[in-house]
């Protein structure tokens, strides 16, 4: 499903060159739930951003769903993200001016041929899946951290993406909320077959996934 070949990411300023990722080769199969672990600054999030086509590697190629995506234009990348990928961020990244349901509908706004009524229906279904169908009219700042992350999950899954990329999704939550979010993702992986790549510091959460990849200083060590 996701193939990374000789991926390198180097940040350059006038005086310093920092290697964030060094020769990464990774193959993630369809329907797999993978956890990426490592200390802060080891390149986990950079890797996830590159997988999510939010960032471009300095070298190497990325193939997703049998399609070479490294050379795609900005516009095609945006369309690819919209159709194939879903994101869950540590700090939720919800738009505070929009209601819960409007936040969830967001990915479908950028998809052609979906009416307002269809968007609303699918948003309600997604919110129902995460157990928040009673909070549709609320605004993000009226919700707890766990609830916000569940809204973020609903937004990530509304477009039925094949790949879900989660950057420390339980990092800002207490253990109970974290468990709740984790079980939601496990459920999505098991029932819908969604491929999930999750960056985490939490070994307990990582152990629940099918595979753990360890990173250190920009390199994959296991």
């Amino acid at each position: 499903m996701i193939q990374l070949l000789n991926i390198e990411k180097i940040y350059r300023t006038k005086t310093i060159e920092t290697t964030a990722l060094n020769n990464i080769n990774l193959n993630i199969k369809k329907g797999e739930f993978v956890a990426i672990m490592g200390p802060s600054g080891c390149g986990k999030s950079t890797l996830l951003n590159i997988m999510g086509l939010l960032d471009v590697p300095t070298a190497g190629t990325i193939t997703m769903d049998n399609q070479a995506v490294t050379s795609l234009s900005r516009k095609k990348l945006a369309v690819f993200r919209n159709l194939k990928l879903g994101f869950i961020f540590q700090s939720y990244h919800l738009i505070n001016d929009l209601s819960v349901i409007d936040n969830v509908e967001l990915p479908l706004l950028y998809r052609n041929g979906i009416s307002g009524a269809q968007r609303r229906k699918r948003a309600l279904e997604a919110l129902d899946k995460v157990g928040l169908s009673a909070r549709t009219k609320h605004y993000p700042n009226q919700l707890s951290g766990g609830q916000r992350q569940r809204v973020a999950i609903a937004r990530a899954i509304i477009g039925n993406p094949e790949i879900l990329l989660a950057d420390e999704p339980t990092g800002n939550l207490d253990s109970a909320m974290g468990e709740e979010v984790m079980s939601l993702m496990l459920h999505l992986n098991e029932t819908d077959g969604t491929t999930i790549v999750m960056v985490t510091h939490d070994e307990h959460m990582a152990k629940k996934t099918q595979r753990i990849i360890h990173f250190f200083d920009g390199q994959q060590i296991s």
Partner: protein
């Protein structure tokens, strides 16, 4: 918009002020050139107010005399009606107050070419002009000034030592128009008229209503007429200058005294408009860059979930145009209050000849032009910030526009 109240308020104030200036500018031009009452035939009404006399290779320009006009500018095939008029001023002393008034000496045809709305009474007719009847038509402002609430009909009004009887009250014309006056009287009562009897130069103009919109035909006939029949023997040739209001405006704004140049006029108007808009547009661009910059995270989120740069530019520009239109409508509304203030300010410079406070009228044309200006301002001030923000790196944007 509501989230960033400070920026929104600042934007709205900037736009409103710009639109007030543009509205007054547009209203002024509209009143000079457009067909507004009482000049509904402006597009085929020519004002002949200058005559050039050529003698021994020298050109002398002058305002024509009534004698010259009546002898040469009459019975033209291409015109429907011709009227002669002269604009003067007189001072009144009333209840210890001194005031200046515009006075127009004219004929019965003046009322046929124009469409003055008579609130009371009627215009003077041919017989009254022929007899030199001391009758006057006054405008609303003058009626209110001299007679307060009383009925002015049949009352006497003293002008330059001559007593006239008020026979009609008209709705005022715009003070920026050639037909504006406070008092209109028959030209045959003009005591100075005889002094210019034999000369070309005088104080009179002719207003020619062409039969069709082809005003060039009138000019061609005038040229032909003057070539054939020079009434002043010692001149080599004579040329008269007769143009419509629009042509006159075009001549003035294109700095060409002979012919209107509409291309140059459009350029000048656009330059003036650009000058009015430039500083507000630059300020709005800066405000928008900051305002949209504060939405970096939102832009990052939208891009993560598939918004293309084009979609974001569209969204941000439309938002900006909506704000600009709101500001523009506020500006248009405020113009209604701002224009009398401007007139009062102008009146302080010339307290003798006071303009009416409702001198700047906002027509549908002005309204449309101002809305167009709003759209233009919205586009100019919105496109660059929107384009800049839409190109923002997603990761950078998700961090709220900072690298930490």
């Amino acid at each position: 918009m509501l989230r960033k109240k400070y920026y929104t308020a600042l934007t709205l104030v900037g736009i409103s002020l710009t639109i007030i200036v543009i509205t007054i500018f547009a209203s002024f031009i509209d009143q000079i050139i457009s067909a507004n009452p009482p000049e509904l035939n402006r597009d085929r009404t020519l004002i002949l107010d200058k005559v050039s006399v050529y003698k021994n290779g020298k050109q002398t320009d002058a305002i024509p005399s009534i004698n010259f006009l009546q002898k040469n500018i009459r019975d033209l095939e291409s015109t429907e009606t011709i009227s002669y008029f002269s604009t003067k001023e007189f001072i009144s002393f009333l209840h210890g107050k001194t005031a200046g008034h515009a006075l127009k000496f004219t004929d019965e045809n003046f009322w046929k070419i124009t469409d003055f709305k008579f609130i009371k009474g009627k215009a003077f007719h041919l017989n009254e002009v022929k007899k030199g009847a001391r009758v006057a038509v006054i405008n609303e402002k003058t009626a209110a000034y001299f007679f307060n609430e009383n009925d002015p009909m049949g009352k006497a009004i003293n002008i330059q030592g001559i007593t006239y009887r008020v026979i009609g009250v008209v709705k005022s014309a715009t003070p920026f128009s050639k037909v504006y006056s406070d008092v209109y009287v028959p030209y045959t009562t003009d005591i100075n008229i005889q002094q210019t009897d034999k000369a070309i130069s005088g104080t009179y103009s002719a207003m020619l209503l062409a039969k069709t919109n082809d005003v060039k035909k009138v000019r061609a006939e005038l040229k032909f007429r003057l070539k054939r029949k020079i009434t002043v023997s010692d001149a080599d040739s004579i040329k008269v200058h007769a143009f419509t209001s629009l042509e006159q405006f075009s001549k003035t704004s294109s700095f060409n005294d002979d012919e209107p140049e509409y291309g140059k006029t459009a350029t000048v108007v656009l330059i003036v408009l650009a000058l009015f808009m430039l500083i507000p547009a630059i300020s709005l661009v800066n405000i928008n860059v900051t305002r949209i910059g504060e939405r970096a995270e939102e832009i990052g989120i939208r891009k993560s979930f598939g918004a293309t740069s084009g979609t974001l530019v569209r969204q941000l520009v439309i938002e900006n145009i909506i704000i600009t239109l709101i500001g523009g409508l506020i500006g248009l509304g405020l113009s209604v209050y701002a224009s009398p203030l401007l007139v009062n300010l102008i009146n302080t410079f010339d307290p003798l000849f006071k303009m009416e406070t409702n001198s700047f009228m906002i027509s549908w044309r002005v309204f449309g032009f101002c809305l167009f200006s709003c759209l233009l301002l919205g586009l100019i001030s919105g496109v660059y910030p929107a384009w800049k923000m839409s190109r923002m790196d997603v990761i950078y944007a998700l961090k709220g526009g900072n690298n930490q």
